[in-house]
C-alpha cells in the first residue's frame, strides 16, 4: 500500500491541477459569453444575409502535384546527405541537376496559378 503512496499524491496533484484549470476556464468562458450582436461576423456594419458556412474548392489535384514536387525532393535528399561527404562534388552536381528538374515542375505549377487559392 505504501508503494502506491507517491502515485496517489501525483494523482491528487494532477486532479487538483485539472480542476483549477477547469474552474478558471469556466470563469473566463462565463465572462466571455458573446451577445448576439457580438457574435455576428464583421463585414462593415451590416447584418449578413446568409450563414457564413460555405463550400469552396479545395483544389486537391494541384495540391497533390505540389506535394509530390516537394516530397520527392526530400525523399532523395536524405540518402544523398549520407553519401555527400564521401562522393563530394559529383554528388553536389547531381543534386543540383535533380533540384533544377524539380524546380521546373514548381515553376510550371506557379504559371498554372496553383499557388492561388481560388
Amino acid at each position: 500500500m505504501t508503494d502506491l503512496g507517491p502515485l496517489a499524491v501525483a494523482f491528487s496533484v494532477m486532479v487538483a491541477a485539472l480542476l483549477a484549470v477547469l474552474a478558471s476556464w469556466l470563469r473566463t468562458a462565463r465572462n466571455a459569453r458573446a451577445t448576439a450582436p457580438e457574435r455576428v461576423p464583421f463585414t462593415g456594419g451590416r447584418a449578413p444575409s446568409v450563414h457564413a458556412w460555405s463550400r469552396y474548392h479545395a483544389r486537391y489535384y494541384p495540391m497533390a502535384l505540389l506535394f509530390l514536387a516537394f516530397d520527392m525532393e526530400m525523399v532523395f535528399m536524405y540518402p544523398w546527405a549520407v553519401v555527400f561527404v564521401t562522393e563530394g562534388i559529383v554528388a553536389m552536381v547531381e543534386m543540383g541537376m535533380f533540384i533544377a528538374i524539380l524546380l521546373l515542375g514548381v515553376l510550371y505549377a506557379w504559371r498554372e496559378r496553383a499557388f492561388e487559392w481560388t
Binding site: T35, E38, T43, G45, V50, H51, S54, H57, W117
Partner: protein, 428 residues
C-alpha cells in the same frame, strides 16, 4: 501583480477603430501619423470607437453594429459630431478643435485601469431569428447546419465553374469596411475568392459644409488661384497614394506618403519623384497590381475619371480648356504603361506636375467656371466623377479575384464627400 500589468497595458497605444463621417475622411487619415493611438482595420481589434463628424442617419444602425463588435472593455469617443453622433452610447464627446488623440488615450487608460465601465451593447441581445430545423423542437434538417441557423439560409450553389458546383456566398461589405471609403456599401456574390456579381447598394456618408468648401468645388462658381488648386491636387493624390499603399500592406511607405501630403510645398516635385521611385522599388507594380483588360480600359477611358482615364489612354483634361493653364505650358500626362500600375504612375506624375505648376503659377487664377478638373476627374454642378465611377464598379470587379477587385476599386479614388458636395450644389 495585476495592477502592474494593467499599468503596462494602459501605457500602450490605444487601438482605435474610426468611423469617418462627412468631411472627416482626411482628419481620420491624419491619425495614422499620431503617436499614442493605432488605427485598426477591424472593430474586433479595437478598444476605442472613434466617431468623427456627422454620420448620415441611414448609417446609424451600422454604426451601432460596429460599436457592438468591439470586445469588452470598450468605449466610444465622439469627435466633432452632433448630440446623436452615436445614439445611446455612453460616449466621451469632444468638439471639433479638441485633440482626439489625447481624448482616446485618456479614455483607453481609464478603461484599462478599471476607472471607466465598459459600454454595453446598443443593439438587443437577440438573434435575428431562432435556429429552425424540421423537428418539433427546431432540431434536424438537411444541409451542413441541419436547419436554418438564426434565420440565415446557407449560401446557394453557383453554376459549374471548373468541374465542381460551388457555393456562391453573398457578402455585404460596408459601410464601415476599412479598405473602402466610409459610407460605401457593396453587395458581392463571391465564389471562392472570385467576385461573380457586384452591386453598389449605398454611397451616403452625409453632407458637410467642409466638403462643400473644397477648392475644386469652389472653382465651379468663381475663379480660384491656380497655385492653390494645384497644391490641393498634389496633396489629394498623395493622400490617395497613402491609402492605396496601406491597402497593399506597405505601411511604412504609406506613412511616408501621408507625411509628404501634409507637408509638401509648391516646387517640391523632387520629393514626389523620390516617393514614386521608392514605391516602384517595392515591386508592388509587378507583383500586386492587376492588369486591366481592353473592355475595362475602354469603360474607364470613356468615364472622364481624370488620371484613371488618362492612364487608360484618353488624354482629356478640363484644364486644357483654360487659357490660364495653357499659358503655363500645361499638357496632360499620358502613356504611363498598362494596368492599375499605370493609374498609380499617372497619379504620382500628376502630383509632381501639379507642384511644378503651383510654383510657376504665381497669382494666376482660373478663367473657366462651370466645369473643373478635380483630382478624380471632370466635375460640374451635379456631376461628380465618383458617381460615374460607382456606376462602373460592378462591371470592373466582376470576374476579378478579391485582392484585385479591392485594388481596382482603390485605384478609382472614390470620394463620397465630393459626391455629396456636388449634389448639394445642384440643390442650392
Amino acid at each position: 501583480m495585476t495592477s502592474v500589468f494593467r499599468r503596462m497595458a494602459a501605457a500602450a497605444d490605444a487601438p482605435v477603430f474610426a468611423l469617418a463621417g462627412a468631411g472627416m475622411r482626411w482628419a481620420v487619415q491624419d491619425l495614422r501619423l499620431a503617436d499614442g493611438v493605432t488605427l485598426v482595420d477591424s472593430p474586433r481589434s479595437a478598444s476605442i470607437l472613434l466617431v468623427a463628424g456627422e454620420l448620415d442617419p441611414r448609417l446609424g444602425e451600422a454604426a451601432a453594429r460596429v460599436h457592438d463588435s468591439l470586445p469588452h472593455p470598450r468605449a466610444t469617443v465622439v469627435w466633432a459630431s452632433g448630440p446623436d453622433g452615436l445614439a445611446g452610447a455612453d460616449a466621451e464627446r469632444i468638439g471639433h478643435d479638441a485633440d482626439p488623440v489625447a481624448a482616446a488615450r485618456a479614455v483607453f487608460r481609464d478603461l484599462v485601469l478599471g476607472r471607466r465601465q465598459s459600454e454595453p451593447d446598443l443593439l438587443p441581445d437577440m438573434d435575428p431569428a431562432p435556429w429552425r430545423g424540421v423537428g418539433p423542437y427546431g432540431q434536424g434538417g438537411s444541409g451542413m447546419t441541419g436547419g436554418t441557423p438564426y434565420g440565415r439560409p446557407m449560401a446557394e450553389l453557383g453554376p459549374d465553374r471548373d468541374g465542381l458546383r460551388l457555393d456562391v456566398l453573398p457578402t455585404r461589405l460596408g459601410p464601415f469596411f476599412a479598405p473602402l471609403p466610409a459610407g460605401l456599401e457593396l453587395d458581392l456574390r463571391v465564389a471562392g475568392d472570385v467576385v461573380v456579381e457586384a452591386r453598389v447598394t449605398g454611397s451616403e456618408v452625409g453632407t458637410s459644409e467642409a466638403a462643400g468648401r473644397s477648392t475644386f468645388v469652389r472653382a465651379l462658381t468663381q475663379p480660384q488661384s491656380i497655385a492653390d488648386l494645384e497644391l490641393s491636387r498634389a496633396r489629394a493624390h498623395l493622400r490617395w497614394a497613402a491609402e492605396a499603399l496601406r491597402l497593399q500592406g506597405l505601411r511604412a511607405i504609406s506613412l511616408r506618403a501621408l507625411e509628404l501630403a501634409r507637408t509638401v510645398a509648391p516646387g517640391d516635385s523632387a520629393a514626389v519623384g523620390r516617393l514614386a521611385t521608392a514605391v516602384q522599388r517595392t515591386g508592388v507594380y509587378r507583383w500586386s497590381l492587376p492588369n486591366v483588360d481592353d473592355r475595362r480600359r475602354s469603360l474607364l477611358a470613356d468615364a472622364r475619371l481624370g488620371p484613371v482615364s488618362r492612364a487608360c489612354g484618353r488624354a482629356e483634361d478640363e484644364r486644357l480648356a483654360d487659357p490660364a493653364y495653357i499659358a503655363l505650358g500645361f499638357a496632360p500626362i499620358a502613356d504611363v504603361g498598362d494596368g492599375v500600375a499605370a493609374v498609380w504612375r499617372a497619379r504620382f506624375g500628376e502630383a509632381s506636375q501639379s507642384l511644378d505648376l503651383a510654383s510657376r503659377a504665381g497669382s494666376a487664377v482660373t478663367t473657366v467656371t462651370g466645369t473643373t478638373e478635380s483630382p478624380r476627374g471632370r466635375i460640374a454642378l451635379g456631376d461628380a466623377p465618383t458617381a460615374r465611377a460607382l456606376e462602373l464598379v460592378p462591371a470592373l470587379v466582376e470576374g476579378l479575384e478579391w485582392g484585385d477587385a479591392l485594388a481596382t476599386i482603390a485605384a478609382l479614388d472614390l470620394d463620397l464627400d465630393e459626391l455629396a458636395a456636388l449634389a448639394g450644389v445642384t440643390a442650392a
